[in-house]
Amino acid sequence: MPGSAEDPTGHPAAQERGAEAIERTFRRESGRALATVAGVVGSLDVAEDAVQEAFVEAVRTWSQRGVPDNPGAWITTTARNRALDRLRREARRGPKEEEASRDAGRGPGARGHGDGDGDGDEAVGPVRDDQLRLIFTCCHPALTPAAQVALTLRLVCGLQTPEIARAFLQPEATVAQRLVRAKAKIRTARIPLRVPPDHLLPERVPYVLACIYLVFTEGYAASAGDALVRGELCDEAIRPARLTHQLMPDEPEVEALLALLLLQDGRRAARVDAAGDLVPLEDQDRSRWDRDRIAEGVEHVLAAARRSRGPRGRGPYLAQAAIATAHSTAPTWAATNWAAVVAAYDELSAMSPSPVVAVNRAVALAFRDGPVAGLEALDVVAADPRLARRHMVPATRADLLRRLGRRSEAADAYRHALTLVTTGPERRYLLRRLAEVTTG
């Protein structure tokens, strides 16, 4: 897909300064180049080295001869040639571990050893896309979620290790080691570079979606870290979500996730104020929402809902996207379709019961049926030990009590929440509310 929808550069490449062009190209093209070359040579390690070498080569030649018309194709071709050169050199030196490691990743066309069950497992369908294979490899369940996220950002999104470290507020060495370990596992344990066969897709797709959503929420929860970097993280999550949807257009949950990200991201600009404080949805300046993003999200929700009428029914991302739709399309907080929100939370609870979902449902119920109904629902979930150390329940109770005008009870609940809250912006928000109910 040359010139994807997210391509930010519309102006002549020759006018760009070499280094900037390379950096931009790297971000945009390295995942694609890596996926293609890995598909050709069957080894992630060889492909990654080759793509790095191609960019080094680019630094040297582009500054002299200018940026080529199609920098992505240049990088991919150069990297592929480098990788094939290396394999030829190694072949001359004799087969060893290298050959063994290359066989591991081969999908279609691989030598079908070990297919002892004889039920035709090896007959994989046509390759759908190199990048999709790469995403499934990065999001393999035999890797920890943290490793999946780091690998996806590094290999699919083309982020450098220091950028990933900055985004996650972790030491660079930690992220670097995590990446090394994950890649060693892919190589040694032979995690295949392939799109899983159809019978495995229902259990594997959720890992891909969870990983992409984790990348996004890391960026969206602008509670800590460099806001700019975190904003980029949201964009980086939307890119593979879009890609996965393009490559698997018939999977409703994939489209629902894309919708969810677009709908939430559409509100991003209004989510934090100038001082960096969190603005609750209720108080957000809705004129600052990105209407185009939200409209695109709504289109995808509707499409995903249409496609979910089959036997497998609606999945958790569609329910979450339905909630996001109600919020993102409401002209005001009061005019939100609370009945739809409560219904979607009910749906979500039925699929995967969680105390956090139950608290959010209580809030929605409070706006549909009044704060007292919300408090009653909250009391039911408050005893859940998984919430005991979190500020969520007392903060929600405080808010509902405040709305009922029960100020001293609200103040107590705010104080309780303040003993549990961990992030700066949320602490400041609770302090502000506490001041409101204790003064004036």
Partner: protein, 240 residues
């Protein structure tokens, strides 16, 4: 590519009981379903027959019971031949222990050495080598080469008593597989956060438990490591 599948579970079934034969039938079904993908595999007698041997200051420290005090103990193993980890997981999920306990998949260094398929005789023992979680080293490193030389010396000394064995890659390459209902749960690394993790396996033949223990005590282990000696179930004798 060979994967060592270690089968963990809370053992409640005594060999020879009806439950035991029901479980055996389940394993036979697994055998039939997977065919040539199974390179080797044995069931072990209950863990109260286990002997754990640790390197001491002078004499090795011998205790009864498994190497770790956890609810789930090793009940057997398979060596699986699979092209990729996905193929190995597809096999592992069919192992009955995956539904009642957990199966750990460890990539084998090189390949399994020893007899193919089930062996015979009640004079056979499995020795599981464990190492401190921070002691496991990757093939190709100097520490690895030293270890290989030590095992080479043990092999020369033990001779025909060794009837099988494998070394495995470090724990960061392991994968745990559980099946609960319709769900297959795949996680990174060994299933339990124990101080010691699997590092390799020997199958030994010895005339008596004492002789087996004496032999096992000579297996080289890392300073924080140990070996766990377990008698292998002789199905031929049970069926007779």
């Amino acid at each position: 590519m060979h994967y060592l599948a270690l089968l963990f579970g809370s053992e409640t079934i005594e060999p020879g009981t009806p439950e035991f034969f029901a479980e055996m039938a389940a394993y036979e079904a697994f055998d039939r379903a997977t065919g040539s993908a199974i390179v080797a595999g044995e069931a072990l007698h209950a863990s109260d027959t286990a002997v754990t041997i640790r390197p001491g200051g002078g004499e090795p420290l011998v205790t009864t019971g498994p190497y770790a005090e956890v609810a789930e103990v090793v009940g057997g193993f398979f060596v699986l031949d699979a092209a990729t980890l996905d193929d190995a997981i597809e096999l592992a999920r069919l192992i009955p222990a995956a539904s009642t306990g957990v199966v750990e998949l460890w990539p084998v260094v090189g390949s399994w050495m020893g007899p193919l398929g089930p062996g015979q005789g009640s004079d056979r023992y499995m020795v599981l080598i464990v190492a401190g979680a921070d002691e496991a080293v990757a093939p190709g490193t100097p520490d690895w080469e030293v270890g290989m030389a030590e095992h080479g010396a043990f092999g020369a000394a033990a001779g025909d008593a060794i009837i099988g064995g494998a070394a495995v890659h470090p724990p960061s390459t392991a994968t745990s597989v559980r099946v609960r209902g319709d769900e297959v749960l795949v996680t990174d690394g060994p299933f339990a956060e124990t101080a010691e993790v699997a590092n390799g396996l020997y199958l030994l033949r010895a005339p008596s438990p004492e002789a087996a223990a004496a032999l096992a005590a000579r297996i080289p282990v890392t300073p924080k490591g140990a070996v766990e000696l377990r008698p292998i179930v002789d199905f031929a004798a049970l069926m007779a």
